[in-house]
Subunit: 400 residues, 2 copies
């Protein structure tokens, strides 16, 4: 069933898609905008060219179904972009699916809607696996301008169309090719990342209560300074987490808000946005236990009590071991020694699809690690190698 991928055609398809909603060297295709819908129609045409049967469904997902008997693989990603963002994020995985279809591989190709979260995040892949109900659609609205999702679906001509639910029994599994959005591959001089899994993201709000007071009239001994308490707690996390984390764990404080935030007022309240990520549930559990213990210890000795409020708690999505082997074998065959295994620190549609079938992801390098910005880019040679490895691995999986 193997045939060679036409990498020139693959790059030509990618560049054609880049013209839709072009912004500087990137694209501006927010979900359900005219540009996004144009890209979905463009994709339907490409899928038909390959002999697949395209469907644009009621949530905006495009699915191209292969006419032949199984086994099949599902290949794809998302096609909309962040605002004024890069041309490869999402689009690469979709066009890679087209390339595998053009090469005659028995694949269904999918472009999920709104992975980027203009309306909710992952609503296309969640709809595909049956994890998005009508009641939730009623509640969602655009995060920037507030337009209700229902209105956006109507304006995009999607209201009333059925939503397509994938049949897991049809597929050996799902493959998603993506740019790395980091600098690990570039720094190591490697061309391919075989993804071991998609990290869990545990997002918390740490709230610390103190007593707002005048910075001149209140002695240090009297104070209950919520901001200083936050600094002490975050310094303790900084000291302790390296002892309990795994080799690729990350933890990040993205925002510290002191209230009222004036130069001469002792903060009465502090709010910290804190998250941790790892691909290994055991390590996640260890880090969360350490966080809980640090807060308990803080509350035993500090005058300003801290509490932890979960904002969102995703679970890790491990990639299928056999699929990883197929990707690794093909990478080693085509580019010996120039690949590595690595977790995905960012979220992807594959983490939802993994709930119903085996998944795997392949990363190619991002120049300078730039992502979610129009300057995002990857060398043509890396793009071409990536799609060849993906095709070879797909053939290995389908033959297996």
């Amino acid at each position: 069933m193997m045939s060679r991928v036409d990498t020139d055609r693959f790059l030509a398809d990618l560049h054609a898609l880049r013209e839709i909603g072009r912004f500087k060297t990137g694209v501006h295709r927010p979900t359900y905008t005219p540009e996004d819908m144009e890209s979905r129609r463009w994709l339907c045409d490409r899928l038909a060219e390959c002999g697949l049967t395209p469907t644009l469904d009621g949530i905006g997902n495009v699915i191209g179904r292969h006419p032949g008997a199984g086994p099949h693989l599902l290949v794809g990603s998302h096609i909309e972009s962040q605002n004024e963002a890069g041309w490869l994020d999402g689009a690469l995985g979709v066009v890679a699916g087209v390339a595998l279809a053009r090469a005659g591989l028995p694949v269904d190709v999918v472009a999920f809607a709104d992975e980027e979260g203009h309306y909710g995040g992952f609503i296309g892949s969640r709809s595909f696996i049956g994890a998005l109900d009508e009641a939730e659609i009623d509640t969602l609205a655009n995060r920037t301008h507030g337009k209700p999702l229902r209105q956006a679906l109507t304006e995009a001509g999607l209201a009333g169309k059925p939503r397509f639910k994938g049949d897991p029994s049809r597929y050996r599994g799902f493959l998603e090719m993506h740019i790395e959005q980091g600098t690990q591959l570039e720094a190591a001089g490697l061309g391919i990342g075989v993804v071991t899994g998609i990290v869990a993201i545990r997002q918390y709000r740490i709230i610390i209560d103190g007593m707002q007071d005048h910075a001149g009239g209140t002695t240090m001994a009297e104070r209950r300074d919520a901001g200083l308490a936050a600094v002490r707690l975050l310094a303790a996390i900084d000291a302790e987490f390296p002892r309990v984390c795994g080799p690729r764990s990350t933890w990040t404080t993205g925002r510290i808000t002191l209230e009222p935030g004036a130069p001469s007022i002792i903060p009465g309240r502090a709010e910290v946005l804190f998250q941790l990520r790892d691909v290994d549930p055991t390590i996640i559990a260890r880090m969360e236990a350490a966080l809980a213990a640090l807060i308990q210890e803080h509350n035993r000795r500090d005058r300003c009590p801290a509490r932890l409020e979960p904002i969102s708690l995703s679970t890790p999505a491990p990639c299928d071991a056999g699929f990883q082997e197929a990707l690794a074998a093909e990478a080693e065959a085509l580019s010996p020694g120039c690949w590595q295994r690595m977790p995905s620190g960012a979220g992807h549609d594959a983490q939802w699809v993994a709930r119903v079938m085996p998944v795997a992801m392949l990363f190619v390098p991002s120049i300078g690690g730039i992502s979610h910005h129009w300057a995002e880019d990857t060398k043509d040679a890396d793009l071409a190698l990536g799609v060849r490895v993906l095709a070879g691995a797909a053939a290995r999986i389908l033959a297996g």
Copy 2:
């Protein structure tokens, strides 16, 4: 020259002034508003009642001049309020001056304009000592709504009036009675604070530069997290400052701004509002040297360099030793053992007047330390004791 202060009349004057711009149990008299100007005209009438010659000058200062031969004391404070704030902050010191004048003491009474900084801060006391020129007045505007100071002066009927410059040779010095705006006196069960000096406030911006990156794709070892660097530096200050500070030093971080401030983005820049206060220049110098050393040490080991930008650097204003003795002697006579010496952690008009003549300040307790809020209050007995101590001390100084 001594005569008894009529404390009932003093309290009646205070309550009459409280009705002008009343807000709940406090007042709303921002500088140059109709309510503020009404309070200044009210004061002129009271001063005339006492036999003083009142002047409302071109910056809004009210000065009531005693007709007799010297020596004189200048007594007063400010009369405008913060927004929706307390009835005593400022007003107390002005009405105390009226009470001393009513008691026949040879005092000039002053109400300085805009100590509260609606337009600039201390512009009345700075004008009085000759430290505010016309060019600066041209540049000032309301901090809330942006109205130019010149326009506010015109609307208040003050444009074109001369500004009154005080003649230091006329005065033995300046006395300002004020609420404590803290809880030191209340906590110690004391009625009088003899102020040793007004602290210097050294206000800085600490800026830390890092590298903005995706929180998922960037390993801990690669990061240049400006927010984490800020936490480490502030924790180091928290550990080191207690070793170099004085008994009443304070230091405060009022705001921490991480950019861009999103949950999944490593902060590329951190900005910290940091201030320190002390009444002793030697201690200020020691703390500032420690701060500079901590930043230097930080920059030697951290990947995110920090730098210190001064925002405003005031100097301490010590109170006159002889005046303090007079206040202390009178406090001990009227309320034995129920007073203490203490610095003022907040700024006051007296710190500017101190540049041209000796000054002293007397504090009375603030209930619950509440200030800059309409709930601000002080017990009648504490107000009455305070004005009696002030009058007695004034008599001692004038007799000295």
